[in-house]
Symmetry: C2
Subunit: 217 residues, 2 copies
DNA sequence: TTAAATTTTTAGTTTTAACTAAAATAAATA
DNA sequence: TATTTATTTTAGTTAAAACTAAAAATTTAA
């Protein structure tokens, strides 16, 4: 149906489109895809001809409805495979991304349907991100960034924004994991760092950490 | 490491090399790869530069030791995924090949090590073919073609030569499966067809069938 | 509101892996 | 052995997806 490269572009546009409501810029896409702006323009033209994106010169690019559906299918596959790797093959949450990046492109409806069943229809991946169902629907959690909480507020860790291996290993090392309860004991106005009570332990973390953790209050 | 196309060529050469002890011909490879002889020549030159094959113009091509190891790794992955699909995801043995053709190219040592463990180190795939271990070793079964048996001989069905969906569905329909005991009740000299006793049923099959079933006597 | 800086697009190349057509080599046959 | 036939290789193209360098459009700033 679509080439590897086309699928990766669609996915990248989907991820970048979330933040701004405006179109995705050529440069932003080039950055995300680790390529040059000129290559992006070429590919966008192709995707536009295939009706996967809406594109006007110099105006940025948007996913069409078909494009959005395509993106959600790929994301569904990616996240289901991540669950598989962690729950069945003993991968840790910082090891799954790269492999899932490859597995997400395997083309078989049945494979994903059966994998979903085998995993018992999981709703979230190992990083707390929602898994779209076969129709592309998924629940958007009412989560907020840890950095937006004030002293005294409490919540549960439900996701991470940065899924890099480095960040996840830091969390592991400090015993911070999905589902743990967190309370803000203190917050430093100066640099935004926080003193947290995570279950029974107390820990001071920098803004780099607080802006990458999602909390459900 | 190697491109998708390179891996598929290596695999094809491995499969074709089994039969004749001589080199694999350009035309045979073209047939196997569903491409033109000229494309094959191009690719063989590249594989030769990468030391995966041994090649002299007009002399056919052979896998080098590295090439053989590479082929066995891909075959190991293919067959492990087939076991996964059948045992965990309820695929039938005629549905697994295509998907495994894609999965076999996923690049992760850990993935295959863990998958092997998860499946409890299977020795054979759903079609009875041996699965190489992590070092590339596998047991060669002392199997023979059903067509080579004579009236009165008995054995167990241990594999199929043709793994096409059509053939496998034919076997399913007639209740012929791996592990079943088979006895030759009669054999027609004229066309090679056989009257078989398979467990409790009696069935007449054509040569097309007998030359594609492996028996262990 | 021009001029400078930035972003984006165009034009032209490169690489990979295919292709066609024609030439070269090897094998088969008269 | 000479000639015909079949196989294999070479030469030159094509398409996808990247690239560089330069031109065009947009945005920012003087």
């Amino acid at each position: 149906m679509f080439s590897l490269s086309e699928e990766n572009y669609i996915k990248a546009i989907f991820h970048l489109q979330k933040h701004p409501q405006s179109g995705v810029s050529t440069n932003a896409l080039a950055e995300e895809m680790q390529t040059k702006a000129s290559s992006v323009t070429d590919m966008i033209k192709k995707l536009s001809e295939k009706k996967l994106v809406i594109y006007k010169k110099y105006q940025g690019v948007y996913l069409s409805e078909t494009g959005r559906e395509t993106a959600l299918k790929i994301i569904r596959k990616h996240r289901l495979w991540e669950v598989f790797l962690v729950e069945k093959l003993d991968f840790s949450w910082d090891e799954v991304h790269e492999v899932a990046e490859e597995l997400e492109h395997i083309k078989s409806e049945k494979l994903i349907l059966e994998l979903d069943k085998f995993l018992n229809y999981p709703k979230r991946d190992p990083h707390g991100d929602p898994i779209p169902d076969a129709k592309g629907n998924f629940q958007v959690a009412n989560k907020i960034l840890l950095s937006d909480l004030s002293i005294g507020e409490k919540g549960t860790l439900v996701g991470v924004k940065d899924s890099s291996s480095e960040f996840l290993k830091y969390l592991d090392k400090n015993n911070i994991a999905l589902g743990k309860s967190i309370e803000i004991l203190d917050k430093e106005d100066f640099d935004g760092s926080m003193l947290l009570k995570i279950e029974d332990q107390t820990l001071r973390v920098s803004t780099m950490v607080t802006i990458n953790i999602y909390i459900k209050v």
